[in-house]
Structure formats: structure tokens, C-alpha cells
């Protein structure tokens, strides 16, 4: 741990961020560093495992693997932090259960002993947005703002597991109409526009995407139609799986539902730290906004150029 930083976290990457949307990883690392927060690696961390999938197959496996992941952060002595709602759901729910049920903790530790690990507890798993909003606070973020984008209309997508189950989340039980992400977004001078069913699920979670892509895409279709209705320029979110579903999902929606959506969708999907970084005046290269190689068949599937164009005008 370095003395130069005010905050220290163990960066739990999960699967989708490092392996499908590495631009999110890049932007979180750079923005947190910029804000005075150290992101330490959690060597050997695995899949969280995903709450709607592996938990739905076998709860004990889910719990034990999650405990192993948290125990890696414990070894370093920092709070695990994740940029993914799914990982957040797993780490936090597992942590919550283990904190509250002594017997369960004992049992889990019997398994972990087999690989020479223990789960001690007490270290609260956090979300990147939670760190920004609760640990650092809006006032801290405000000090870093260099550019504002008053013409930008943003559709904020929260996703589910960042606020629910609310009894295991840090938002004082608020889940129906949370505002924290909008407040962060509004620091950039952009307008967070209200749209119908703003808090609705993107459709990917709970193993639905793996089960039947068309069903997941139909959730996404509904969201996208509502977002287009209010004329949002971009979508801001805080979860790589929602990100994937809203990005790659647009391609799928355009394909599956061509007959009912009218114009195909192409709304840029941007992760919250990417937007913040731009407002902080950081190098877009550090924020995963500029690809340095030409690659095909990789993310982002929907071009973010319109976004880059808007902010270019503002930055000048």
C-alpha cells in the first residue's frame, strides 16, 4: 500500500470487465488513480461467481468461491472493490450472509482450509460508484471537474444489483428511485434525462442471456425504445454486463426485432468512469476511449464516435 494515496482498494476485476470490456478496466484504474485512490491487484481472483448463474446452480459453490475471492483482499488488507453490479451482488450478498451467520462462516472456512485460506470477515465489498459517492463524495469529485457538457443528454442506467436487495446495500434502503448515479453524472454538467422504466433491468442477468438471448434482448429493446423516446445522446451505466447487453444487445435487438423498432439503434454506451475522466480533462487514451489497434468483432459493438464528437466540441 502506498502512502501517496488517500484511499486503497483491492480491484476485483470479475470476468466481463477484463475479458470483454477492458476499456472499463482502463478507465477505472486511471480515474481512481487520478482521484487519489490506489487500486491494488487481487492476484488469482476468479469469477465472482455470477449471482444469477452459479448461485442458481448451487448456492454452496457460489458462497465458497465468493469467500475465496474476498479472502484474497483480506490477505492484502483492503476492501475489495468492483466495477460490476453482478460481482457486487455476489461479493456483497456473500459477505452479508457470512457476517450474519456464524455457523455458515464456520462451514465455509472448513472448505477454505483445504486450500490453505480463511475468510475472516469485516471487509465490506464496495462498488466503484459506492466509492465515488460515499467514500470520496461529490465534493471531492467536483474539485476535479475541468470541463462540463451542458448539451449532452444522458440516459442513466443503474442496473439491478447495485441497489437491490436493498437491505444488503449501502443506500439507506432506497431502491425505487435512487439518485446517486444521476448526481455523479450531473457533476459533468450533462443532463440526466428521465425515461420510462428507467430502473428496469437490462435483461441480461439471472442466466437469462445464456438461456434465451431473444428474451434478454426484448428487455433491452424496451429500454432502448424508452431511451430513444426522450432523445438521449448516450447511455451511462455502471456495470459491464449491462454495458454488454446495452452495447452488443443493440446489434441483437436490431437483428431480432427489426420489424418493430423502426430505425435500428446506435446509441453509444459509456461507462461512468469514462465520462468522469473526460470531464476531469484526462487523456482519452487512458480512459479506453481510443483503440490503438484496428480489431474486428470486438467491443464496443456500437460506435462511440458520436459521443467523442460531442465532447470534442466541448473540450475545444
Amino acid at each position: 500500500m502506498s502512502e501517496d494515496y488517500k484511499w486503497h482498494y483491492g480491484f476485483f476485476l470479475g470476468c466481463v470487465i477484463p475479458n470483454r470490456y477492458p476499456m472499463i478496466e482502463a478507465s477505472i484504474r486511471s480515474v481512481f488513480d487520478h482521484l487519489g485512490a490506489e487500486m491494488l491487484d487481487l492476484p488469482g481472483a476468479s469469477c465472482c461467481p455470477a449471482p444469477g448463474v452459479f448461485r442458481a446452480f448451487h448456492i454452496p459453490t457460489w458462497l465458497v468461491i465468493a469467500a475465496r475471492n474476498i479472502s484474497i483482499a483480506e490477505e492484502i488488507g483492503v476492501n475489495p472493490i468492483t466495477g460490476c453490479n453482478g460481482c457486487y451482488g455476489t461479493l456483497r450478498d456473500a459477505w452479508y450472509e457470512l457476517e450474519h451467520e456464524y455457523e455458515l462462516k464456520k462451514e465455509v472456512n472448513e472448505y477454505l482450509a483445504k486450500i490453505g485460506r480463511t475468510y475472516k470477515g469485516n471487509l465490506e465489498p464496495k462498488h466503484v460508484v459506492q466509492a465515488l459517492y460515499l467514500d470520496m463524495g461529490l465534493d471531492h469529485l467536483k474539485d476535479y471537474i475541468k470541463f462540463t457538457f451542458s448539451d449532452l443528454k444522458i440516459a442513466v442506467h443503474y442496473g439491478c444489483h447495485i441497489v437491490k436487495p436493498s437491505d444488503k446495500r449501502p443506500w439507506d434502503g432506497e431502491y425505487e428511485v435512487p439518485r446517486f448515479l444521476d448526481e455523479i453524472v450531473e457533476l459533468t454538467g450533462a443532463k440526466s434525462v428521465d425515461y420510462k422504466d428507467k430502473y428496469m433491468c437490462c435483461g441480461a442477468g439471472g442466466a437469462v442471456r445464456t438461456a434465451v438471448k431473444e428474451v434478454a434482448a426484448d428487455f433491452t429493446r424496451e429500454k432502448l425504445m424508452n431511451i430513444r423516446e426522450v432523445g438521449a445522446d448516450i447511455i451511462i451505466n455502471c456495470c459491464p454486463f449491462c454495458h454488454l447487453q446495452l452495447d452488443l444487445g443493440q446489434v441483437e435487438v436490431n437483428n431480432f426485432y427489426a420489424d418493430i423498432i423502426g430505425e435500428p439503434f446506435n446509441i453509444p454506451v459509456i461507462y461512468i468512469t469514462q465520462l468522469l475522466g473526460v470531464a476531469f480533462g484526462m487523456d482519452p487514451n487512458l480512459l479506453g476511449l481510443i483503440k490503438n489497434h484496428e480489431l474486428t468483432g470486438v467491443s464496443p459493438f456500437i460506435s462511440i464516435d458520436p459521443f467523442l464528437n460531442i465532447i470534442k466540441n466541448q473540450l475545444i
Binding site: 439471472g206 434478454a216 470486438v298
Partner: protein
């Protein structure tokens, strides 16, 4: 038999209830399920039910009354775990947790989709990641990482082979491997029986 007999005569009478599945919930400490008053808040909240045949309340009711066909239903895999039902149930029933438990029971009895099985067994168990970046197919993702100035493989299980072993050992100990093998076996048996049925 006249065509109309097949068409109109159903002779389906709701005969008996069984508490086998309900008991599994109780054993798992989820006895709240029995306090359901069938108010429909869960179904009304459900973004999945608005577009599929999945009905949250009915799934719970079927489980409670012993309609075991609920386990075979693909519908229970269409819940996106958005937790709206969990948050709003007036009887404090952790509905989403119930659905997850219901899926656990289904898997135990061999009802798991092929895509889920592959994800669990061939990907997660093998690599420690649900969405991996290793393997020939995934080279483009490693390249993508590099294009943003990141190392081709993240500092996760991907960079630590012994960590993959750790995870596998845990999964064996806790019974995941056995569960999957059993599910595979049951699936196969069922497929065979079905095929035989069709042939006859």
C-alpha cells in the same frame, strides 16, 4: 375416438398436493414462502413476466402445492434476478432467493439447460472464469486488452494456474463437480427415454 373427444375432453382434475418441494424450502430456512397470500405483487413487478410465460407468483404457488412440473419449466430460468419482487413482497418473502433455490432444486434433479451446463462445467469449472480470455477463440480479446495498454491476460486466475486448481479443489469439495456430473447423467437418461418414447 372422435376428434372432438381429443379436442375438448380434458378430464384434468386437481387431485392432491405434495409438500416435497415446500419442505426443501423449509429445510433451507426459507419457511417464509408459506406465508404467501398470492397478492400478485411479485408477478406484477416482474419485467420478465411482461414478455414471457414466466409467472413469479405461480411458480411459487406451484412449488408450494407440489406441482413438480415447475422444475422442468424453462420459465424459471427467465427471471433476470432484478429483485423487484423481493423488495416489494408484503409478506417479506425473499422471492428472488426462492427462485434461485427453486433452480438449485431443478439442477439437483437434472433440469439444467445445455447452455447453462456448458457454462458451468466446460467453462467455469475449467478456467475459473465464467467469461474467459484464454483459448484460441479469444485471442481478439487479449489483443483488445493490449490495445488499451493492458497486459494480454488480467491478474486473475488467468495469470495464476495454481489459483485455477484451488478453485477446482473447492468445487469438488463442496459438491459442484458431483452435482454437474449427476445432472449430466440425468439429462442423458431423460433424453434416451424421450427418444425411445418417440420411436414407439
Amino acid at each position: 375416438m372422435s376428434e372432438n373427444v381429443n379436442k375438448y375432453i380434458k378430464r384434468k382434475v386437481y387431485k392432491k398436493t405434495s409438500s416435497r418441494i415446500a419442505q426443501k424450502f423449509v429445510d433451507a430456512g426459507l419457511q417464509e414462502i408459506r406465508a404467501c397470500i398470492n397478492c400478485g405483487t411479485c408477478t406484477g413487478s416482474c419485467p420478465s413476466g411482461r414478455r414471457t410465460a414466466y409467472r413469479t407468483r405461480s411458480a411459487i404457488r406451484r412449488a408450494l402445492t407440489g406441482d413438480e412440473s415447475v422444475l422442468k419449466d424453462i420459465d424459471i430460468w427467465l427471471c433476470s434476478t432484478c429483485y423487484y419482487c423481493y423488495e416489494r413482497c408484503p409478506r417479506n418473502i425473499p422471492v428472488t432467493d426462492m427462485i434461485i433455490k427453486l433452480r438449485n432444486i431443478a439442477v439437483e434433479e437434472g433440469y439444467i439447460l445445455d447452455s447453462h451446463f456448458v457454462l458451468a462445467n466446460n467453462i467455469f469449472y475449467a478456467t475459473g472464469h465464467g467469461v474467459p480470455a484464454t483459448g484460441e477463440n479469444n485471442k481478439k480479446w487479449r489483443d483488445l486488452r493490449e490495445s488499451y495498454g493492458l497486459p494480454p491476460l488480467p491478474p486473475t486466475v488467468h495469470s495464476y494456474p495454481e489459483a485455477v486448481k484451488e478453485c477446482q479443489e473447492l468445487m469438488k469439495a463442496v459438491g459442484f463437480k458431483k452435482l454437474m456430473d449427476n445432472a449430466a447423467k440425468l439429462k442423458e437418461e431423460r433424453a434416451k427415454a424421450e427418444k425411445k418414447d418417440k420411436e414407439e
